[in-house]
């Protein structure tokens, strides 16, 4: 069972259709599956729903799929820094479901872990709680949130071995593990595929069981806010 594919197009072959639900890793532009997003743009599939914390910027990340109007709906916690997003949203072309960041991460983790729903205090008393089941535990009120299961998930890691074991680097880990877990099929892109056996089994962030297809490629890894300190 070979998981390694030659390129993003090959890795996505047979998986992309109009109207599917995709979970994507990344936070801002950090740790996003840029090669797979490019391939989705090239594929021209449309009416996509994305669960992704952010929508990228106009010309990088999920933003490139907004330009081509391939996205119907976003499930996100923060969509600032994206003018085209705002335009499409305000004009009604794009549907948006705001999820608190932790609720979104937990919904992905739950969906991938056989948990159809869980309770959280996050959002109680706000518009996020509207229409959701409320329940009291030990004198406090919580709302029920549903696990998310995506048709496919696309994630970016630093290294992988040939069996799909993944290792992430610094804060580029972010939503990638929970996004990977919640996909019926998970496609991962990495900076380097190393031979099986060369990763320490104690130090694998995401076991290969969650990863079905794998590519290696060059990443731009664009910085969204280059903030430096003065050196005296």
């Amino acid at each position: 069972m070979k998981k390694v594919f030659n390129n993003a197009e090959a890795a996505l072959s047979g998986l992309l259709k109009d109207d599917i639900f995709i979970a994507a890793g990344g936070f801002g532009l950090c740790g996003i599956p840029e090669l797979l997003l490019n391939a989705i743009r090239e594929s021209k599939v449309k009416n996509l729903t994305f669960a992704s914390n952010n929508a990228g910027v106009d010309d990088f990340g999920i933003g490139i799929l907004l330009q081509t109007k391939q996205v119907r709906k976003m499930i996100s916690s923060y969509v600032g820094e994206n003018a085209e997003f705002m335009r499409q949203y305000l004009s009604g072309e794009l549907e948006l479901e705001f999820n608190p960041q932790g609720t979104l991460a937990e919904r992905m983790r739950a969906g991938g872990s056989g948990i159809p729903a869980f309770y959280t205090k996050t959002g109680v008393g706000t518009i996020i709680a509207d229409g959701k089941e409320h329940k009291d535990f030990d004198g406090e009120t919580y709302i029920m949130e549903r696990g998310l299961v995506a048709d496919i998930s696309i994630v970016k890691a630093w290294k992988a071995d040939e069996t799909g074991n993944l290792v992430f680097r610094k804060t580029a880990r972010n939503f990638n593990p929970p996004a990977a877990m919640c996909g019926k099929v998970c496609v991962a892109e990495v900076e380097e595929i190393v031979p099986t056996g060369s990763l320490d089994p104690d130090l694998i962030h995401l076991p290969g069981i969650y990863v079905h297809r794998l590519i290696q490629g060059d990443h731009e890894k664009r910085i969204e806010q280059r903030t430096l300190r003065e050196v005296k």
Partner: protein, 209 residues
């Protein structure tokens, strides 16, 4: 006379206690890290998946894989650990973070907080703010006392969509410090050169004594 941004941050830094894990929001709260009192060890969480956030990088240290929750490039420290976003918000919701210091658009006398949305105008999203105010041990708001029109941002009731209901414990503004208590707000202290009367006058909420 009143506190400037840095004085507000310095005042907020006095809220910190030794050994605490703390989350600092964007804006004035970020400045708090410049004023952590000597002898006090505080670990900063960045909710995208990091404990032990260091200062901004030099040109040489710049790393696209290392950003904070405001998407700014940062650095790590000797005690730093990284984890995924589900784990990060697990520790936030689970009450492991002792305190969050956040900015606000409005705070009500009941401790309601609004800081994520102006309907029809500003639709960026709540990010991690709703999780933070629901989960952390203590919520301190640091903000200007009034908006650019001179209106009090401290109100009987918030007019904007809430980030959390009855979640704020303390408010630090350019005019002073107020605690959310039974029945309204209690003045803890006034800023340099600000009288109690001026503070009360500027606050459109119930002050209790």
């Amino acid at each position: 006379m009143a506190w400037d941004r840095n004085q507000m941050a310095a005042r907020a830094a006095h809220e910190l206690q030794d050994g605490w894990y703390v989350n600092l929001g964007i804006g004035i709260p970020t400045l708090v890290s410049n004023y952590i009192p000597k002898g006090i060890e505080v670990t900063l969480q960045s909710e995208n998946g990091m404990l032990g956030m260091g200062p901004f990088p030099t040109e040489q240290e710049l790393d696209s894989d290392l950003i904070n929750a405001g998407k700014q490039t940062i650095t790590e420290l000797p005690q730093t650990s990284y984890f995924d976003s589900a784990q990060s918000f697990g520790m936030i919701r689970g009450g492991k973070i002792a305190m969050a210091i956040l900015g606000a658009m409005e705070v009500s006398e009941a401790g309601d907080l609004a800081n994520w949305m102006i309907p029809g105008k500003l639709v960026k999203g709540m990010g991690g703010a709703m999780d933070l105010v629901a989960g952390v041990g203590r919520v301190v708001v640091v903000m200007d006392h009034t908006n650019k029109h001179g209106d009090s941002k401290i109100l009987k009731e918030c007019t904007l969509p809430l980030t959390g209901k009855a979640v704020v414990n303390r408010i630090i503004t350019n005019l002073g410090v107020l605690d959310v208590v039974d029945g309204g707000l209690k003045i803890v202290e006034t800023a340099d050169g600000v009288t109690r009367e001026e503070l009360v006058e500027s606050t459109k909420a119930t002050i209790v004594t």
